[in-house]
Amino acid sequence: MTQAIEKTLEIAGIGIIGVFIFMAIFYLLILALDTFLPYKEEVGAQENSVDVETEDETQN
């Protein structure tokens, strides 16, 4: 087995495990965000939309 193939196997092994680790972390992150920032009836949506217009206009 050549050195290049060995390195490719190493990257493939670390890579696929790495993707799973990243996604597992993001999974936990979603659970945490969902726990600490649960949905509540969000009021003032119309007030926010007025703010949106104002801020966007400012940027133009």
């Binding site: 290049a4 696929i16 990243f22 992150l29 979603i30």
Partner: protein, 385 residues
């Protein structure tokens, strides 16, 4: 005065140029008549014609009078937009602004399919390496399996710019061919009974998600990804930046601009600029055919990875809470095409089986997974090459 002086292009045209012009025409035909990724394949096809007419001023030519190189506009675009990675990263901002992560919050476990369906990337890397490609080239070919054009372009432009043309064409062509590639692979790997499984977590899909959580998600993902793998930050960071613009609720105009004008303009420039690498001397090689074959291999193994992982997860799940293994195939980044294909396959087996919502969740996971895989490759290859 001979033909050579009057019409130098006709006198100098080679059969390779003609083949490339024919390839350009085929890509335009596929884009218009078959609607295969027209936003990319049409500019790429037209660009292929543009750069393969001898002495085309669209690409760099040597001025016979002075002997100096006169830079063509497509080479200027290439150096400014692809070499610097600006075009694909701007596309990421646009994609980020288009993605709604709330389906993932409704069923976060499906995020893992976004990891499993990257299997094809690494299998293809190994296979390319066995065929004699060096590590950087093998990684660039493998990334076709990300089913994500901008990620493929970033990785290939950094590690194997000489292969950028065929890699981009393969990536975008196979994304368009997902409805043809995935179903036979899925049918081969699953039984009819498995394909009939109904996802019992349908109730989750009515769950409302907090705006604050959706705003915090792109910020925390960027910080976490940056701490673990800083090299992945350009990819993940720009994607999440686009998503933050979408979710923050105070930049609606910017969000719409990113989703529409920015996406359209950069896609247009990206396509035609990639074509600058599709000159006959670079493209008509055995390598191109091998890369296109390996791209198909990558998509097949992505589907394999997702489906087999779903079957593996089912080993630990109780009856009535099983995952339809077809959902695993949605872990690729081709959004929303893959989710739609799986939903249609499910409906073909059982018209009352609605797999669209879980399929969308897994497909959104795939969009994150492909970028993460690209970031990991960008980190690991320079360390080991």
């Amino acid at each position: 005065m001979g033909l050579e002086q009057l019409m130098p292009a006709i006198a100098s045209i080679t059969w390779q140029d003609l083949v490339m012009i024919a390839i350009g025409l085929i890509l335009i035909y596929l884009a218009i008549a078959k609607n295969y990724e027209p936003t990319l394949l049409l500019p790429i096809g037209f660009g292929a014609i543009l750069v393969n007419i001898p002495f085309s001023s669209a690409i760099t030519q040597i001025d016979p009078a002075t002997g100096q190189a006169v830079e063509g506009v497509l080479n200027t675009f290439f150096n400014a937009g692809i070499v610097t990675e600006i075009f694909p990263l701007l596309i990421f901002v646009a994609i980020g602004a288009m993605i709604d992560f709330s389906p993932l919050f409704r069923n976060p476990s499906l995020l893992l399919f976004g990891a499993a369906a990257q299997f094809g990337i690494f299998m293809t890397m190994i296979f390319a390496s066995l065929l004699g490609y060096d590590l950087r080239e093998a990684a660039s070919i493998g990334i076709i399996g990300a089913a994500d054009g901008p990620t493929s372009i970033v990785v290939a432009s950094r590690f194997a710019p000489n292969l950028l043309g065929p890699i981009s064409v393969a990536a975008y062509s196979y994304m368009a061919l997902v409805p043809i590639i995935q179903p036979p692979v899925i049918r081969l790997l699953t039984t009819k009974k498995e394909r009939l499984i109904r996802m019992s977590t349908a109730g989750n899909y009515n769950k409302k998600i907090s705006k604050k959580a959706l705003i915090a998600f792109p910020i925390t993902v960027t910080i976490v990804a940056g701490i673990i793998a800083p090299s992945s930050l350009a990819l993940i960071g720009f994607l999440m930046f686009g998503n933050l613009i979408r979710e923050c609720g105070v930049l609606n105009k910017l969000s719409l601009a990113a989703q529409n004008e920015l996406a359209s303009l950069v896609t247009l420039l990206l396509g035609i600029t990639i074509a600058s690498t599709m000159t006959s001397d670079r493209f008509i090689r055995v390598d191109t055919l091998i890369i296109i074959a390996l791209g198909l291999f990558a998509f097949i193994f992505d589907t394999f990875g997702g489906v087999i992982f779903a079957k593996f997860m089912n080993l630990f799940r109780k009856e009535g809470n099983k995952i339809n293994p077809m959902i695993g195939a949605c872990g690729i980044s081709a959004f929303p095409m893959s989710a739609r294909v799986i939903h249609q396959m499910g409906q073909k087996e059982d018209p009352f089986n609605y797999l669209l919502m879980p399929a969308i969740s897994a497909n959104v996971g795939g969009q994150i997974g492909s970028v993460v895989a690209g970031g990991i490759i960008l980190t690991l290859v320079p360390l080991l090459a």
